[in-house]
Amino acid sequence: MAEQKTLGERLAEHGVSRRAFVKYASWLGSLMALPPATSRAMAAELAKAKRQSVIWLSFQECTGCTESITRSKGPTLEDLIFDFISLDYHHTLQAASGEAIEAARHAAMAENKGKYVVVVDGSVPMKDGGIYSTTAGHSNYDTLMETVKDAFAVIAVGTCATYGGIPKANPNPTGAVSIGDLVKDKPVINIPGCPPIPEAMTGTVAYLLSFGKVPELDHLGRPKAFFGENIHDRCYRRPFYERGQFAHAFDDQGARDGWCLYELGCKGPVTYNACATMKWNGGVSFPIQSGHGCLGCSEPDFWDKGGFYVPLSASIGPTAKLVGGAALAGAVAGVAAAAVARHRKSSLNKG
């Protein structure tokens, strides 16, 4: 619910000084590569900001994005975000249920009209009137449109909300679409990933809170601060790629020696995310470091790109079958053409 106290006052009541904002801003500014002056401004603005009302809508999703954002280990820096926001509606985390929680959503919308942020995970089914996913008797589409009407901004988290994700994978039985496909009159920030890196989600919220504006986005609506570089360019295995040292199988000597996973289908060169730099679980590791190629989960339709283990340079689709058919047809055509030519020549000779 809305509060009149600033975040600085709130934290002070809990015995936390405004130094926490300075530290938080240093950390986030470093992650987002903000100029130092901007980081300082962020610390000041955050301390003065009011707690941000956030309404979190869950549609066709697996709750992995929520798992990711709550995956902090203790009362440290990353969790400060949960002091900065008021999570007024969230299916998995809310204590209340039924009519009470729907009433809470409406109350938050009315109280913070034009100021609240809507976070969405999951795609929206549009086929057959959207009956494939409903809450409180309303289709996801109706809930989304009602909720975003008075929002300040919408943050789509996870590849399902940002690009349709796995529900949209072929043959897309529910007619799933992304949030950006539906919400056209509000800023939509996409934080894709399956799940997204927690810092990318919280960092974007903190940026919105501090500066009251949307961070710079790329052509797919992703904050450039987190999705500006591809995995391959920042991958610690990159030197092996340049040296032509590739693991040929998951259990060969190359794989054990940490060689490049390109041949095993790594999609790092065409995937834009911060995994290689920020890493996961507080900087412990990321998929490539754990020995598996990048799946490209922060890119649209990553599920339908011809296979996770097909190298990027290989063709996709039934190429081998087509080529086999073409070879047969070509051979027949060639032999037939030769036969026709021979026949014509011999009949000419006779004639």
Binding site: G8, E9, A12, E13, H14, G15, V16, S17, R18, R19, A20, V22, K23, Y24, S26, W27, G29, S30, A33, P36, S39, R40, A43, A47, S72, K73, G74, P75, T76, L77, E78, L80, Y236, P239, G258, G282, G283
Partner: protein
């Protein structure tokens, strides 16, 4: 992991470049009072580069440990006005590391609003329970402090 770690020559030159930049920044601080922050994470620094820079900067008289949303460490280098700031997250992970060219890093200064708030609470404490007793707010510290 990093193939470049083993080569001392480029490491030294990168640290030299940052050192030179810091020298300019310190001159600016002395002349105009303009402060500078260098985010060490934004530089293509390996552990060897950090070590080389730390060695060149040396250690001064002040080392402060803060307990603010995890641990932080502020150390004055051998050059007055150049401070090395390290922020830790949960445990020993360094989440942010910067060199600040300033008379005193912002994070050490008590914020005016914090001072005002403390002054109010302290006044209350004097009137009601006496100076020794901690307030409820302090108890509620949530292990941040």
């Amino acid at each position: 992991m990093n193939a470049d770690c083993g080569h001392p020559a480029p490491a030294a030159s990168l640290a030299d470049a940052v050192f030179a930049e810091l020298a300019h920044a310190l001159a600016r601080l002395a002349e105009t009072g303009e402060e500078t922050v260098v985010d060490l994470r934004s530089l293509p620094f390996g552990p060897a580069d950090l070590e080389a820079l730390a060695e060149k900067l040396g250690t001064g008289e002040v080392t402060v440990t803060l307990a603010v949303a995890g641990r932080s460490e502020v150390r004055e280098t051998g050059w007055a006005g150049i401070w090395w700031v390290r922020h830790f997250g949960d445990g020993e992970d360094v989440v942010a590391e910067e060199v600040q060219v300033t008379r005193i890093p912002e994070i050490l200064v008590s914020h005016p609003d914090d001072v005002a708030f403390a002054a109010r609470r302290m006044a209350d404490a004097v009137v009601t329970t006496g100076p020794q007793e901690p307030t409820a707010a302090d108890e509620e510290d949530m292990s941040r402090g």
